[in-house]
Symmetry: C2
Subunit: 224 residues, 2 copies
DNA sequence: CTCCTTTTGTTGAAAATTCAACATACATTG
DNA sequence: CAATGTATGTTGAATTTTCAACAAAAGGAG
């Protein structure tokens, strides 16, 4: 079985851990690999998890059933992304989603308690991994906070302007290119695509923004 | 100056740390107290923070200005709640909010790097605090995820049903009391209060739920 | 360049939300 | 228990979103 060291090194959990420390580290935290066939269930909704999964090969899908029994796909992950960290680290270890391998996949599992318990040999990279884990969870936190700030606005126009305003602030300029096409932006803002197009046109006509495809310019009435 | 040990002990960061360890712990992580008068600014938007603030006395307000220059209050915190942890722990240390003392307050600051760097005397409670911090950030993550799952639905009815469905699942029963009054629930769901009342009435008439004030019963068509 | 596909913009009708105003129920207190 | 204030329910009008269908533009392949 391939050891996937190259992939593991790219995972946020192993960020800034020197190559030659990765193998000892894995031993130290008792990480283990597991293979899943296409369609195989990795975790079912309601499972209690103490382990973080890192996708080494293949693809996994997080999905969930709503009150009406409809399944919705939340996200698809590939190497070297990880899943389960929020739940494994929280007090509520019950995961609220199904996690399914949608391709033949290899997953690396690492136990959170083993990460947190500094090992007997007090390895320096152990502390680095704890800090990486905390950073990863905190980063996600910020992403979610931002999304809530934007989508909690009531109209398409307000959502869009809030999004553009925050983007401009991040970039530090009133002119920037976004990473979404129209449909993805509509999905992110939780609005209708055609309604979004209408709103962008309006803002352009009103002279508040300029827009060419993914490139936006904030012209006035926006306080950065 | 009061030492506020009783408050500190209640903070999530000091959860399960024995009383007699709190003082040594504070020394170990170089925690320090600071007083703020009513109206005084604790952090301004854009400040880089490396410290978590724990409210020991008084009240602090997190607020922010939108694209239109309007100020909106995000949350008010009192003892023993903490703030800044997501930013102090993340890669983006710039806080996006103003944090203001709205009463005469006392704040305990602890440096995240000092928490993460296991101290020379390798105190056992140090590890506990790291784990507490991680748990706190991960818990918030779950709260935010849930809120997004609910508010990303497009109609008041879907938001409400998703909320009730998740609540029922958490409680493990189809009958439960919620912690919100109508206005707070509307705020949480990001919908209009009167529209929410209309929807609750409809669902009752349709025989899908029963409701008396804060008490809800899911009757059918809800898959838990 | 042309054909074909994908993305984006536009339109109008239907559905849903918001808003303001008022009615009713509930709770508190003097 | 009357009076007052707060919370909740109801209504209709105005605004906004969604939805479906189509038009226009952009991009790629041959």
């Amino acid at each position: 079985m391939k050891n996937y060291l190259d992939v593991i090194k790219k995972s946020p959990l192993f960020h800034n851990i020197e190559d030659f420390n990765v193998i000892p580290m894995l031993g130290c935290i008792a990480g283990y690999k597991k293979s899943y066939e296409k369609g195989q269930i990795i975790f079912s909704e309601g499972d209690l998890i103490n382990e973080i999964g890192i996708v080494l090969k293949g693809k996994v899908e997080l999905s969930k059933y709503g009150y009406n029994g409809n399944k919705s796909i939340i996200v698809t992950l590939e190497a070297p992304q990880m899943f389960g960290e929020s739940y494994a680290c929280s007090e509520i270890k019950k995961i609220p989603v199904d996690i399914i391998s949608i391709e033949d996949s290899e997953i690396l599992f690492v136990n959170v308690e083993r990460i947190l318990k500094t090992c007997s040999n007090a390895c320096s990279f152990h502390n680095k991994m704890i800090s990486n884990l905390l950073t990863a969870v905190a980063n996600k936190n910020i992403v979610l906070n931002k999304k809530i700030e934007i989508t909690s606005k009531r109209t398409t126009r307000e959502k869009l302007l809030t999004y553009l305003f925050l983007k401009a602030k991040e970039e530090g300029k009133k002119q920037f290119t976004i990473e979404y096409d129209r449909q993805s932006l509509a999905d992110y803002l939780e609005v209708d695509r055609s309604g979004l197009s209408v709103e962008i046109s309006k803002l352009c006509k009103e002279g508040i923004i300029d827009n060419q495809k993914n490139h936006f310019i904030l012209k006035r009435n926006i306080y950065i």
